[in-house]
């Protein structure tokens, strides 16, 4: 029997653990830096959310345009993604313009935000790849007794059926 079946829903423990680590890391930085401005943090959270929503839907739009085919219900998908990406990017542009005062500065901030999100994506992929790669290497390193099912040879499709009366 799997160990997970004995110990209840595993995802709750994992979710609590992630939240605790996250709070712990923030508390460490809080302790060292002597505090932070909550309204600025909320502003950054919101800007990141809106810009990433616009960029992600734009990326999905381009992938959808590249893979369009005759069996696809493309109208809903393409038109919806165009609307989502236009909404996300124009809303971020409007908010940045309100903060920065000019369209040029807003475009500069969008470019910087896009670069920062791409930067974070590569860091997340590198870190997850390292940890999960090492975990895979460690887990697959164990020797098991041979499985008799794996020893069976293929009949290359030559089968006979016995139909009971």
């Amino acid at each position: 029997m799997m160990a997970a079946e004995d110990q209840g829903p595993w995802w709750r423990i994992i979710a609590v653990m992630i939240i605790l680590i996250f709070i712990g890391m923030n508390l460490i930085v809080w302790q060292y830096s002597g505090g932070a401005n909550f309204s600025e943090i909320l502003d950054d959270l919101m800007m990141g959310f809106i810009l990433a929503f616009g960029i992600t839907t734009l990326v999905l739009l381009m992938v959808s345009v590249g893979s369009i085919h005759r069996h696809m219900h493309w109208r809903e998908q393409i038109v919806g993604l165009v609307l989502f990406s236009a909404l996300g990017i124009s809303l971020s542009s409007w908010l940045y313009e309100g903060d920065m005062g000019s369209t040029d500065n807003a475009i500069y901030e969008i470019r910087l935000g896009g670069a920062m999100l791409f930067n974070a994506l590569t860091a997340v992929l590198a870190a997850s790849g390292l940890v999960l790669g090492l975990l895979l290497a460690l887990i697959t390193g164990r020797h098991h007794t041979n499985d008799e099912l794996l020893e069976l040879e293929s009949t290359q499709g030559d089968v006979s059926l016995q139909i009971p009366e």
Partner: protein
């Protein structure tokens, strides 16, 4: 040879929209091409569009080298991070395939070397924090992008390795050794994180690290939530499209000719032994 025309095209490629964002868009379209049917003509364009995108990125990198644009700083950071990250990836693959792998097995003796390579990649990144950074990462936007990369990388190492250790304990059968290795990785990542927050690094003071943490990490967390929301929006659009699609037409029953053909194929490929 028209030198002015050549100069004009080079000025074009030094524009971030043309030299950086357009190739990224081309890469997205190439991913779309790769999802098409094998016989589709777009399959033949994959190599071409990918090569074009990479050439444009390389030309942009060469043309704008040393500038303080966010895109060129990002390229410089990614270029610097490629060797240690490749080392980690190659190490993990070598360690996996030199174990008791059912496919593509490598010599067993390579396994310790695989782990060594993977850990060397991590040590390399740690060493980059204590040595003087090159120009592209030493100040301005380059420094900000580099510091953000390090903070996200370390945070992700701590979270994923702790979660992996918990999985080993909860889901695995006596996976204590694996859980211990993952916990050690989390401790190393956490130790580096606490050190840079408490003492700073060679090029960046603690104040700089704290500013970047409070400015960029909330932005990136919001970004992760926004991306997830965007993907959910995409799934919703596909769901709506499928739901609105008309029911497929009723398929006509087989004709006598088709039935005979099916019977012929079945008899040819199956030997039916009747009991009794």
């Amino acid at each position: 040879m028209n030198l002015n025309a050549n100069q004009g095209s080079m000025e074009g490629i030094s524009n971030a929209w043309l030299g950086f964002w357009l190739p990224l868009g081309l890469i997205c379209i190439t991913i779309g091409f790769s999802l098409t049917d094998r016989k589709d003509f777009r399959q033949r364009l994959i190599g071409l569009t990918l090569l074009l995108a990479i050439t444009m990125l390389v030309l942009y990198g060469i043309e704008t080298s040393g500038s303080d644009a966010s895109e060129i700083a990002l390229l410089a950071v990614l270029f610097d991070m490629t060797p240690p990250v490749s080392l980690m990836a190659i190490g993990a693959l070598v360690a996996t395939f030199s174990g008791p792998s059912p496919v593509g097995q490598l010599p067993r003796g390579l396994r310790p070397m695989g782990f060594l390579l993977a850990i060397s990649g991590l040590i390399w990144i740690g060493w980059m924090l204590v040595e003087d950074p090159p120009g592209a990462r030493s100040d301005g936007i380059g420094e900000k992008i580099w510091a953000t990369w390090v903070l996200v990388f370390l945070s992700c190492i701590v979270i994923t390795s702790t979660v992996s250790a918990a999985f080993c304990v909860m889901m695995g059968e006596k996976r204590n050794r694996e859980a211990l290795a993952m916990s050690s990785l989390a401790l190393i990542g956490g130790g580096i994180f606490i050190r840079i927050m408490g003492q700073g690094s060679t090029d960046l003071s603690t104040l700089g690290w704290h500013d970047i943490y409070w400015d960029q990490i909330p932005f990136i967390i919001g970004g992760i939530a926004g991306s997830t929301f965007g993907v959910m929006g995409f799934i919703w659009l596909v769901y709506i499209a499928e739901k609105r699609a008309p029911d497929p037409d009723v398929v006509a029953p087989l004709t006598l000719e088709e039935k005979a053909r099916v019977r012929e194929l079945l008899e040819k490929n199956l030997t039916i032994k009747e009991e009794g």
